[in-house]
C-alpha cells in the first residue's frame, strides 16, 4: 500500500486501528499526480463505509496505476522523502497536523515533503520510545485538525471534487472513455437539465427557431437574427469580452472551418488567461478551469463545438490542471500561453506542412483534382503543390446554401492555379475528367467514418462508382472518439432562413413558416463510410481509414 511507504512501520499498526473510525475522515497526504482522488479512496477505506461501485472500480484501477507509478517514481525524490520522515516523523507529527489544513487545498503537490519543508518547530529527535506514548494524544490532535481541514475544504470542495472526477478518467483512459453526450432537444428532461446548468453559470439559453424536420428534431436549430448577445448585458461582465466576440463570430459565420475555429478559440483563451487573476484562497489550476466552463457553455450555445475545438479544450484543461500549485501566477500564465502557442504550432501549422509534403507525393503532373467546398488544408496543399511546380488543374465543386466553393475558387485562382467551378448537381457530369479527389474533414471518427461538410459523402460515393481515388486530408488533432454510422444521430442544424433566395426582388420562401406541411432543413455535416475513402493523409503519414482507432490509441498512450 502506498501508505506504508510513507508512514514508518513502527507507527503503521497503531495508525490503522486507531484511525479506522467510522465518523472521522482520515486524510493522508500522499504523493500523487492527481490531486485529491487518492485521499478520497483512502478516506473511504478508512471509514470502513460500504464503498460504492464506482469507488470500488476506481480503487481497483488505483492499484493498477500505483504499480505502474511505483516503478516510475523510484528515482523521484520520494525515496529521499521517505527517509526523512522515517527519522524525523515523530516530532513533525504535530507539525504535520498544523500543516494539514494548508496542505489539503493543495494535495497535488503537497506530499510528505510537507514535514520535510516545514519549519521544524520542535527539536529534531525525541526518542523513538516516546513515540507510542505520544501517538494517542498526537493522533487525537491530528484527527481534530483533520476535521477542521475537511470543514474548510468544503468551500473549495465543489471544485476539488470536479477535479477528482476528471482526473480518474484521464488516468483510467484506456479503460473508461467519457463520450460526449448526445444532444436530445426533444427530451424535456434533458432540456430542463441544460437550462438549469446554464442558469447556474449565468448564461442565457438560446431558444430554438422554426419548425424542425422530424428526423432531426432532436437537434438544436437557431436563428442568426436572434443572437445570444441580445440577452447579455452590453459590457459583458459574466463572460470575458473576447469570448463574447468569438461567440458572435461563430454564430455569424465570420470564423468558419474547423481549423480557423480552433485557432480563434485558443486565441480567445490566451486573452482570458492574460486577464485572469487568481482570487485569494484559490488555486490557479482549479479555479481557471472552472472559469472556462461557462465560457465553453456560452460558445456551445452560439454554435455547437466542433471536434477539433473539443480536443483543444481537453488539452488546455489538462495543461491547466497540471500546473503545480507552488508555481507563481505570472509563471503559470506564461507557461500556459507558451503551451497554447506550441499546440497551435505543432498541431495545426506544422501538421499542415507535413500533410502537404505527403500529399504532394500523390499529385502528379497532368492531374485533374476535384475539391469540395473550402477546406483550408486542401487549399494549402494545392497551393504548395503549385509552388513546387506540379502541373495540375482543379475542379471546385460547390453547394448551396453556403457556397463556400467560391472562396476556395478565389484563393486558388489568386495563386494562378487554373480552376473549373461546378455545383454539386453537375458532379457525375464532371467526374469522368477527374483523376483524384481531395477532401477535407471536420473530424475523423473512431470507427473510420469521416465527418465533413454535407455533400462530401455524395462526392465520395460518386467518385467510388467512377473508380476515382478519394483522399481525405485531416490533422490528427481532429481525430475524435465518437462513433457514428449515420448523419442523423449527431449533426448540426444551421439557420433555415439561409435557404431563402431573393431573385428579382421576390423571395418565394418568405413565409415558409406559415405553410404547415413545409419544413426547411439546413444540415451542416455528414458522415462518409470508410469504404469510400481510399487514403487518409495525416501528419503521422498516410494511413487507411480503418487505422484511425489505432492512432487514437497511440495518442492516448502518449498522453
Amino acid at each position: 500500500m502506498k501508505r506504508e511507504s510513507i508512514v514508518p512501520a513502527a507507527c503503521a499498526a497503531v495508525t490503522y486501528t486507531v484511525l479506522c473510525h467510522p465518523h472521522h475522515h482520515t486524510v493522508f497526504i500522499v504523493l500523487t499526480d492527481g490531486p485529491g482522488n487518492k485521499d478520497d479512496i483512502t478516506r473511504s477505506k478508512n471509514e470502513g463505509k460500504e464503498l460504492s461501485k464506482e469507488e470500488k472500480q476506481r480503487l481497483r484501477k488505483q492499484k493498477k496505476q500505483q504499480k505502474k507509478q511505483k516503478e516510475r517514481k523510484n528515482e523521484k525524490s520520494e525515496t529521499e522523502k521517505e527517509k526523512t520522515p522515517v527519522s524525523l516523523l515523530p516530532p513533525p507529527r504535530p507539525v504535520a497536523t498544523q500543516k494539514a489544513p494548508s496542505a489539503l487545498p493543495a494535495p497535488a503537490s503537497a506530499p510528505i515533503p510537507v514535514p520535510a519543508s516545514a519549519p521544524f518547530h520542535s527539536s529534531p529527535a525525541p526518542s523513538p520510545a516516546d513515540k507510542p506514548a505520544k501517538s494517542k494524544a498526537e493522533l487525537k490532535a491530528e484527527r481534530r485538525a483533520r476535521q477542521e481541514t475537511d470543514r474548510a475544504a468544503k468551500q473549495p470542495g465543489s471544485s476539488s471534487s470536479g477535479i477528482k472526477t476528471k482526473v480518474p478518467l484521464s488516468e483510467l483512459n484506456p479503460v473508461v472513455k467519457r463520450l460526449p453526450e448526445h444532444v436530445q432537444v426533444d427530451d424535456p428532461a434533458v432540456v430542463k437539465r441544460l437550462a438549469k446548468k446554464l442558469e447556474r453559470q449565468q448564461i442565457p439559453l438560446r431558444s430554438d427557431y422554426g419548425y424542425k424536420v422530424s428526423l432531426f428534431s432532436h437537434l438544436h436549430q437557431y436563428s442568426r437574427k436572434a443572437p445570444l448577445t441580445q440577452q447579455l448585458s452590453i459590457p459583458s461582465t459574466v463572460i470575458h469580452p473576447s469570448i463574447v466576440r468569438l461567440g458572435l463570430q461563430y454564430s455569424q459565420g465570420i470564423v468558419a472551418g474547423s481549423n480557423a475555429r480552433s485557432v480563434a478559440l485558443l486565441h480567445a483563451f490566451k486573452q482570458v488567461i492574460r486577464d485572469y487573476t487568481t482570487p485569494p484562497n484559490e488555486e490557479l489550476s482549479r479555479d481557471l478551469v472552472n472559469k472556462l466552463k461557462p465560457y465553453i457553455s456560452f460558445l456551445n450555445q452560439c454554435r455547437p463545438l466542433s471536434a477539433s475545438m473539443g480536443n483543444a479544450i481537453k488539452y488546455i484543461k489538462k495543461e491547466i490542471s497540471n500546473i503545480p500549485s507552488q508555481c507563481k501566477e505570472e509563471e503559470a500564465k506564461t507557461k500556459l500561453l507558451t503551451c497554447i502557442d506550441r499546440y497551435i504550432e505543432e498541431k495545426i501549422v506544422l501538421a499542415a506542412k507535413a500533410i502537404s509534403k505527403y500529399a504532394i507525393e500523390k499529385i502528379s503532373d497532368g492531374d485533374v483534382i476535384l475539391v469540395y467546398g473550402c477546406s483550408s488544408l486542401v487549399n494549402n496543399i494545392l497551393c504548395e503543390a503549385f509552388e513546387k511546380s506540379r502541373k495540375f488543374r482543379v475542379i471546385v465543386v460547390d453547394s448551396r446554401p453556403r457556397l463556400e466553393g467560391r472562396e476556395a475558387l478565389r484563393r486558388l485562382v489568386q495563386r494562378g492555379i487554373s480552376c473549373t467551378y461546378v455545383l454539386i448537381s453537375a458532379l457525375s457530369y464532371i467526374l469522368p475528367e477527374v483523376s483524384k479527389v481531395f477532401l477535407g474533414a471536420h473530424a475523423l471518427l473512431a470507427n473510420g467514418y469521416v465527418m465533413s461538410r454535407v455533400g462530401t459523402s455524395q462526392i465520395a460515393l460518386v467518385a467510388r462508382t467512377f473508380n476515382v481515388p478519394v483522399l481525405v486530408c485531416c490533422e490528427t488533432y481532429k481525430f475524435c472518439e465518437k462513433v457514428q454510422t449515420d448523419s442523423f444521430v449527431s449533426n448540426e442544424l444551421d439557420d433555415p432562413d439561409d435557404l431563402m433566395v431573393t431573385r428579382k426582388g421576390k423571395t418565394q420562401l418568405e413565409n415558409w413558416q406559415d405553410v404547415s406541411s413545409l419544413g426547411l432543413l439546413n444540415l451542416v455535416y455528414d458522415v462518409t463510410p470508410p469504404d469510400f475513402v481510399d487514403l487518409v493523409i495525416t501528419d503521422l503519414g498516410m494511413i487507411p481509414c480503418t487505422s484511425v482507432p489505432v492512432v487514437l490509441r497511440v495518442k492516448n498512450l502518449d498522453q
Binding site: P227, T229, Q230, L232, S233, I234, P235, S236, T237, P241, V244, R245, L248, Q249, Q252, G253, I254, V255, A256, G257, N259, A260, V263, A264, L266, H267, K270, Q271, I344, I348, V349, G373, C374, S376, E404, R406, E407, A408, R410, V413, Q414
Partner: protein, 448 residues
C-alpha cells in the same frame, strides 16, 4: 471590462435658445423627466453599471441640489465638469477624459431618446473588430406645429450623405452638404472595392458611437480634431480606404519609427494588437469573406472598419430643436411605463384628463379643466375651467382660471393670467402673461 459609457451632456442647445437660455439642455423636462434621464435609462437597461458624464458645472450643481431633478438611476455616475465658455467640442471632451478611458468607449449624446436595441450596434463593433460603429435611424417628419414659428419652417439644416455597402452595415462614405462644393465626390478606390454603394440622405444620426480605445489615444495626439460627428467620424470613414492603412509595409516602418508626428502613423500603431499572427492565421484559415466578386481577402485587407446600424422602426430622436422637443414630449410616455397621472398629484374629480397626457408630481388640477395630449410638469397649479390642449407645461407654472392654452410650450415658473388665450406660443421661463391676453404664434421669452 469591455466598454465604458461616456455621456456628453455639455452641449448648449444652440438651436433652441428659447428653451435653454434658463434651463441647461440636459435638464429640460421631457415627459416630466430631465432629458438626460433618457440616455441614462437606455444605458442602464442595457446593463451598464458606470457612466462617465461630461457636463458643465451648472448642470452638476443642479443635479446634486435641485430636488426637482431626480435622476433615479442605479448606475454610478462619474461627473466630469468642463468650463462652459471653453467651447469644447465633443472630441475635445473625449480628449479631456483620456486618462479615465481604459477600454473601448460608447459615446452617447444627452439629447438622444431612443428604444433601439443597442446590442445591434455593439455586435457589429465586436464581430468585425471595428474601429467605429454608430447608430442611425430613418428620419420621421415632424407633424406638430411648432409654437413661435409662423408656418412650416423649411429646414435650413443641410443634408447628410451617408454611403453604405450592399449589406447595409458597412459605412463607406459620409459627408455633409456643407462640406461639398459642387457635388458628391467618391474616390475611385472605394468604387473599386465596393462597386455597389447605397447613398442615403434621409437619416438621423443618433450620435451614439462605439469607438476603439486606440481612437481616443489618437485624439490625444491630434489636437486639431474637435468634434466627433463633424470631424472624427468623416475622418475615420475616409481613412478606411486610404493607402497607408492597407499596406503592411508601411506598418513595419512605423513600428520602427516611434517618434513620427504624422497622424496617419499614430492610428496604425495603435490599431495593431497582440497576437496579431493568430488573428491573421484565423482569418487565413476561415472560409468567410465579406464581399465577393474580386480577388481580395476579407475586408480587402483593411484594418480600419466603420460600421453603421440603420434602424427601420422604433423611436429615435435627437432633441436639439424645438420641433424635436415637442415631438419627443409626445412620444416619451411610450418609453417608460409609469402611470400617466403621478400619484401625488391632486386631481379633482370633475376634470377631464385625456389618456395621453402626463401629470407630474405635486400638481394641483382644479375642477372643470380639460387636459388633452399635454404634459403638465411638477408642482404646477391649474385652476378651474382651463383648457389645455397639445401643450407642454413645465414645472412650477401657475395657470389661472379660464385660460385656454393650445399647442404651446410654457416654461418653468411662468404665470398665465386669468382668461388668457394662448395659441402656438412659447412662453419663456418666469414670464407673466397678463390676464385676458390673446396671443397667437408668438414667442415671449425674457432676454436675459
Amino acid at each position: 471590462m469591455e466598454l465604458q459609457a461616456v455621456l456628453m451632456a455639455a452641449g448648449g442647445g444652440s438651436r433652441m435658445m428659447d428653451l435653454t437660455y434658463n434651463t441647461p439642455k440636459p435638464l429640460l423636462p421631457v415627459g416630466n423627466k430631465p432629458l438626460i434621464w433618457y440616455p441614462l435609462n437606455l444605458l442602464e437597461r442595457v446593463g451598464f453599471e458606470e457612466v462617465i458624464v461630461i457636463t458643465t458645472k451648472e448642470v452638476q450643481k443642479m443635479i446634486s441640489t435641485d430636488p426637482k431633478v431626480k435622476l433615479d438611476v442605479k448606475m454610478k455616475l462619474d461627473l466630469v465638469c468642463i468650463q462652459e465658455d471653453a467651447d469644447m467640442g465633443t472630441a475635445d471632451a473625449l480628449r479631456h477624459i483620456q486618462q479615465k478611458v481604459k477600454t473601448d468607449v460608447l459615446v452617447v449624446s444627452c439629447d438622444l431618446i431612443t428604444d433601439a436595441a443597442l446590442h445591434e450596434v455593439v455586435d457589429l463593433f465586436r464581430a468585425h473588430n471595428a474601429t467605429l460603429s454608430m447608430l442611425m435611424s430613418k428620419a420621421h417628419e415632424f407633424t406638430e406645429t411648432v409654437p413661435g414659428q409662423k408656418g412650416k419652417k423649411k429646414t435650413g439644416e443641410q443634408r447628410d450623405f451617408v454611403g453604405v455597402d450592399d449589406t447595409g452595415k458597412r459605412l463607406l462614405f459620409m459627408a455633409n452638404e456643407a462640406d461639398l462644393d459642387e457635388g458628391v465626390v467618391i474616390r475611385k478606390s472605394i468604387m473599386r472595392k465596393h462597386p455597389r454603394m447605397h447613398i442615403k440622405t434621409g437619416l438621423v444620426d443618433a450620435h451614439l458611437y462605439c469607438l476603439k480605445k486606440s481612437v481616443v489615444d489618437f485624439l490625444a495626439d491630434n489636437k486639431s480634431i474637435s468634434s466627433i460627428r463633424g470631424e472624427l467620424v468623416p475622418y475615420l470613414v475616409r481613412k478606411q480606404f486610404s493607402k497607408s492603412t492597407n499596406s503592411p509595409k508601411v506598418i513595419d516602418e512605423t513600428h520602427q519609427n516611434l517618434k513620427k508626428n504624422d497622424s496617419n502613423v499614430n492610428l496604425e500603431i495603435q490599431i495593431s494588437s497582440r497576437d496579431e499572427e493568430l488573428l491573421h492565421l484565423t482569418q487565413e484559415r476561415s472560409c468567410w469573406n465579406d464581399h465577393r466578386g474580386d480577388m481580395s481577402d476579407a475586408y480587402h485587407g483593411g484594418r480600419l472598419r466603420c460600421y453603421v446600424h440603420i434602424m427601420d422602426e422604433g423611436i429615435c430622436y435627437r432633441v436639439n430643436t424645438l420641433a424635436a422637443y415637442i415631438e419627443a414630449n409626445r412620444l416619451a410616455p411610450k418609453l417608460f411605463d409609469e402611470p400617466a397621472v403621478h400619484p401625488s398629484a391632486v386631481v379633482s374629480e370633475r376634470c377631464l384628463i385625456g389618456a395621453d397626457s402626463i401629470i407630474g408630481a405635486s400638481c394641483q388640477i382644479s375642477d372643470k379643466t380639460s387636459i388633452k395630449r399635454s404634459t403638465i410638469g411638477v408642482s404646477t397649479t391649474v385652476r378651474e375651467k382651463v383648457k389645455v390642449t397639445n401643450s407642454i407645461i413645465m414645472h412650477g407654472v401657475t395657470i389661472e382660471e379660464g385660460c385656454n392654452i393650445q399647442g404651446s410650450v410654457i416654461c418653468s415658473n411662468a404665470v398665465i393670467g386669468r382668461g388668457a388665450d394662448i395659441k402656438y406660443c412659447l412662453v419663456g421661463s418666469a414670464q407673466r402673461i397678463e390676464p385676458d391676453g390673446e396671443h397667437t404664434t408668438m414667442s415671449k421669452a425674457c432676454s436675459a
